[in-house]
């Protein structure tokens, strides 16, 4: 089951976080590998550049540019606890942008814990500042989700 929640960040009242929590029918070591191996990350997230799961190490992802932002997501590994916890900074955007491409100073944290039949994987993407990204929360309705899912297919076809 997916639980997707947009909720106030526990540490700071003026930021929001995204939480996804699911159980995977695989051992923690296998899930850990998928989360921390550059080639494997490229198969489910985006292909990273200069990736290494080493605390302090910097790597990047490249996505669609917007305005003054060239689309580069700057990441830095913050915490590595084998098969338990993996966190990295996720920074991008530009002050001049609103909505997509607005300044992001966020942190992505993966927490693994053994669970019956596999591994519980909890993702917390924290640090979304309001009201800079306010429109996001106002518009996160099921209708949008449906539209986006449908259209994602179209975008996929375009990439052939």
């Amino acid at each position: 089951m997916t639980s997707l929640a947009l909720q106030p960040d526990a540490q700071k009242t003026d930021t929001q976080e995204i939480v996804v929590d699911e159980v995977f029918p695989h051992a923690p070591a296998v899930v850990w590998k998928a989360l921390t191996d550059g080639a494997l990350i490229g198969r489910w997230l985006m292909p990273p550049t200069d990736f290494a799961a080493v605390e302090g190490h910097r790597f990047t992802f490249k996505t669609t540019p917007a305005g003054e932002w060239d689309g580069t997501i700057q990441c830095q590994v913050l915490e590595v606890v084998e098969a338990q916890r993996f966190a990295y900074a996720w920074r991008g955007g530009h002050e001049a942008n609103v909505g997509y491409g607005s300044r992001l100073e966020t942190v992505v944290t993966w927490t693994l814990s053994p669970s019956e039949g596999g591994t519980r994987v909890r993702l917390v993407h924290s640090g979304f500042v309001l009201p800079r990204n306010d429109s996001a929360y106002r518009n996160m309705s099921d209708g949008w989700t449906k539209v986006v899912q449908k259209l994602d297919t179209v975008l996929g076809e375009d990439g052939r």
């Binding site: 997916t2 997707l4 947009l6 995204i18 996804v20 699911e22 995977f24 029918p25 695989h26 051992a27 296998v30 899930v31 590998k33 998928a34 989360l35 494997l40 198969r43 489910w44 997230l45 996505t63 669609t64 540019p65 917007a66 305005g67 609103v98 909505g99 997509y100 491409g101 992001l104 994987v121 993702l123 993407h125 979304f128 990204n133 429109s135 996001a136 518009n139 996160m140 949008w144 989700t145 539209v147 986006v148 899912q149 449908k150 259209l151 994602d152 179209v154 975008l155 076809e157 375009d158």
Partner: protein, 120 residues
């Protein structure tokens, strides 16, 4: 040179339910004319034309004139601002979880079913 369509323009264009319905019909069709879009739509051809104009301005649809007819089709890149923006907020991660699940199944396949299993 392609001008970058701001996120807000795409959002505004798709915020109207009727316009979104028009857009979704174009998504489902390969190419479609105004007349075809108007049929069974419950709105006038003039209204449909206005919606098409908005969708075109937002970079969501492209047109192709042929003789006296104009065919409309989806501009696949048009949704990029929306999809990429959403990607920063949640749908992205949920979809990535689906991809992660598929990858794990690939690199760590489940045990094959017992041959004694009576179910196919």
């Amino acid at each position: 040179m392609t001008e970058t369509i701001p996120f807000d323009a795409v959002m505004r264009a798709l915020a109207d339910p009727t316009r979104r319905a028009v857009y979704e019909r174009i998504v489902r069709a390969d190419e479609i004319t105004v007349a075809e879009l108007t049929r069974h739509s419950g709105v006038s051809q003039g209204a449909v034309s206005q919606h098409l104009k908005s969708l075109k301005t937002a970079g969501l649809v492209a047109e192709r004139p042929e003789g006296r007819k104009v065919y409309y089709r989806v501009e696949p890149r048009g949704l990029a601002p929306l999809v990429d923006w959403m990607s920063l907020y949640g749908v992205f991660w949920r979809d990535r979880f689906d991809d992660l699940r598929a990858l794990l199944k690939d690199i760590d396949p489940p045990e094959p079913a017992s041959p004694k299993d009576p179910n196919p």
